[in-house]
Amino acid sequence: MWGKKQEQNRSERNISGCGSYQSPEVWAKVTGKAVYGIDLEFPGMLYGKILRSPHPHARIKGIDLSAARAIPGVRAVLSAQDVHCNPYGIVVDDEMPLAVDRVRYIGDEVAVVAAVDQKTAERAMAAIKVEYEPLPAVFNPVGALDEQAPQLHEDFPGNVAWERDLIRGDPDTAFREADLVVEDSFSMPSVHPAYLEPIACVAVSEYGNGVTLHTALQSPDLVRDIISRALNLSSSLVRVIGPVMGGGFGGRVFGNLKLYILSSLLSMHTGFPVKMQLTREEEFTVGRPMIAAEINLKMALRRDGTILARESEIITDNGAYSAQAPWVSKTFSERNDSVYRIPNIKTRARLAYTNKVPTAQYRAYGNQSANFACESLMDQAAKRLNMDPLELRLKNCTQAGDTTVHGLEIKSCALTKCLQRAASEIGWDQRKSGRGYGISSGIHANGSLVANKNFRGASARVTLELDGRVNVFTGEQDYGQGAHAAFACIAGRVLGLEPDQITVYSRDSLVTPFSQGALAMRQTTVGGRAVQVAAQELQKAIIQKASEISGEPVSLENGLLKNASGRLIELTEVATGYHHQTSGLNLVGEGKYVPPASDYDETSYGNISVAYSFAAHAAEVEIDKKTGAITVHRIVAVHDSGHIVNLLTSRGQVYGGVTQGLGMGCYEGYLFEGGRVANSSLADYRIPTALDVPAIDQVFIETEDPEGPFGSKGLGEIVMVPVLGAIGNAVADAAGVPVTALPLTAEKVYQAMSGGECSK
């Protein structure tokens, strides 16, 4: 829990940074004054509603829109025939804004309505007549890969959305020569980020063919590009402005592209602003949850515990369209290989199209669900070798200076210390009987090059205002994780200003620098470094201008400008001087940060990221032997995220990430019934409540990373990576047998303990 202990840790290890500064938006949120997408209203605004397919797979034989169009108050009713759009997608272009002749899952968008109010829009929807010819559907990804299975996309024969066969080193020899081979199969269902605010947007068509989209996104610039491509609009004519975001957790990197494109179409068609928002049920049934996965994992070891090789056979469930599933499948299939020194790797991964909700990602991009499997197998190996699970990890864990099996260059790494500290905090050497203990390690990349190999870094603009305050313009997004506070701290530290003298702007694609946005844990490390560089540029400009004004050399220290004669110069004086001289310009520092040589080859071998964060978590659980009910008593989260910029928000990140990991570990998961999402409400899709959250101890081991600003690295996603492994291993320890299917419900634990098959 938060408290005195962490304060002591901080002073013990002399964590520098800017303490507990929070951006003003945090106070707007806690006082209920923040304006979210769902709150937005515009004059003349219409309401859009989507008619969705009731069939998992069907041919559209006919659509009759006439009755809907005749309803008073209805301003537009569109089907695929009425719009001219390009296919679009994030990884592959396999989607159209409205189904052309075929629907591929329950919820697929068939027609769209704009009306003066919600009720009229709903009545219009009910008046649309669609004739379907149902087609055979496939729901199981393994079945979808069968030759006889119904085919979903002509361009993807065999329903293979993505696949990968990878060999590094010589895994076959390693397995032949191993003293021990352990093997098990694991499964993880699809999960939803379950952010509090369902996605909402207002599209406003502009004269001159452009459109302004008001919606909260983690990566507004990437979304702008996709929208302009889909709508055949010049990209600079599409503007994205973000209200405050009510949670994202990866789910709002691309948000719901369908909603943005359809509201834009409706607005361009009617000339009025059009608001659309998902209901909570739609969030579950037509949102973009993270992929489900099945993995068979094998590991070869020497008697002394040295890991020789790992082999995995993976099938992930794509759903009807790809969204981010290929990239997530890739991270799922390989990131955990770099936690330990594993010289030989064999991976066969296939992503299968099924007639279900399309999939994307959730905080940690599949790395967290694979951690559950990989770390369980580590414990199974330790048991077979009669070795302490902690020792096995310490023997193999990655170190600073390593280049991992996939080519990641590890410049800073305190994983060994993280493991040791997690063990000592949880009481590894004094484990109580009747309790179960588990430990797990994780790695996560900072700003990996998934989206665009040629766009590695970030840029920022920092301006000195006439009143002596400083504005930071960045395309990196604050969605509750504290990016704005971190940037204010970083710029303030360069310029010698308090963070509250700095305002950070990030939410208007027309004004702020282009950015990849809040994905791949790149905000503080990559975006923050750009802010640091821009602030340094501004500092130079200020000093130069001040020297000009005072006619002698000037120094800027602790926010005070002083000339050689010792006279103090106010920042306002410099700002105003320049302003007058240029008839209105402000002093500006523009900064770019382009990471050194990050790249990868055609097998994806290479240093894909700027830096890598590490963590070890330990869990203490108790199991009711008669029912299998799990009580998670405590989780210790020890993190190497380099230098901690802001201790309060860092703690918040750990607290939230561990809680979400607990949710994935013990509570959450999509249930399907014939392609229909069976638990599409927060009553049935159960995320943890406050009562379910255990004590969470947080420790930061600070390394100095050479790349991140002031040595810092990312923290947001790594927090979720080792939680699942730690909880899974603690449950296995308490139950005496591993439970290999998420979520770890009481029933599965009970079945596993009684030797049943339900654990699978």
Partner: protein
């Protein structure tokens, strides 16, 4: 839509009479608000008659509009009907408990409503008045017409209060639930028991589990195992086994049939043991 806060029970009945079947009684409405609301609503939550909680002559009378929160913290209920206090403390969330009522929990007729399960174990009867002015008294378990369907017609009948004998010397009760998370989750199984002992020998026992049938269900065969018995350690596994014989349904959203039966057995054993220990502790007049 009209929403009337009645000032007394007679007025509430008068409104129902006048509306000729259009109005519906509500008391808390934490479940009703999730459905389509009827055009006219008569709110019983503030009536004197339906919010009283009293004991007279060994009989506990609980107004139907007593909230779960007030029942859970009532010293009277905690000491004389522990099972009901425990059940009410576990319903929903603090917000639901502050608004939801005991009468509503019964009339909503959910198969595993926590308060209703405890009430049936305690042997509670509902006092029901209709618009013709007739009053009848019926056992709570008799008020179920099917899953989520009550025999009470809330457009013409009102549960005024619930009555049962308070736990006297040598009596104890207990309630337990098993749910997939600690709040805001329907139970996979809940169970309640009431036990009377004399010299550690069980003289009377009521054991109820849910969801088994539409109504909270007495497990008579399991009860019979304990009748006139001084329970030793060997009896509890038999009790669990017998209770787990009950027929239940499984569901994808909750759990399998097999696991639910196992839970019924486990909870039955635990709740009976707890009620028995409380009864023994309450022997000799201490309650």
């Amino acid at each position: 839509m009209s929403y009337i806060i009645a000032s007394d029970l007679n007025q509430a009945l008068q409104i129902l009479r006048d509306s000729k079947g259009q109005a519906r009684v509500i008391a808390g409405a934490t479940d009703l608000f999730l459905q389509t609301l009827p055009a006219e609503l008569v709110d019983l939550a503030g009536l004197y008659e339906t919010t009283q909680l009293e004991e007279t002559g060994g009989l506990l009378s609980i107004g139907s509009a007593v909230t779960h929160a007030s029942a859970a913290r009532s010293l009277l209920i905690r000491s004389q009907a522990a099972a009901l206090a425990e059940a009410c403390a576990m319903i929903g969330s603090p917000q639901v408990r502050n608004i939801g009522t005991i009468g509503g929990n019964v009339a909503n007729a959910a198969p595993a409503a926590d308060a209703a399960v405890a009430l049936v174990a305690l042997g509670a009867k509902a006092v029901i008045t209709d618009i013709a002015g007739q009053t009848r008294v019926e056992a709570v378990e008799e008020l179920y017409a099917g899953y989520n369907r009550s025999t009470i017609d809330s457009s013409s009948e009102i549960i005024g209060r619930l009555l049962f004998k308070s736990c006297a010397a040598g009596e104890g009760s207990a309630f337990m639930r098993f749910a997939p998370r600690r709040a805001l989750a329907l139970p996979l199984v809940n169970a309640a028991a009431r036990v009377r002992v004399s010299g550690r020998r069980i003289e009377a026992v009521r054991l109820v589990a849910a969801p088994v049938k539409p109504a909270p269900t007495r497990l008579f065969e399991t009860e019979a195992l304990l009748q006139e018995v001084i329970p030793g350690p060997e009896i509890w596994p038999k009790v669990e086994e017998a209770a787990a014989e009950v027929e239940v349904r499984g569901s994808m959203l909750r759990c399998s049939e097999q696991y639910r039966r196992h839970l019924v057995g486990t909870l039955a054993g635990r709740v009976l043991k707890e009620a028995y220990q409380r009864a023994c502790a309450a022997e000799g007049g201490e309650t």
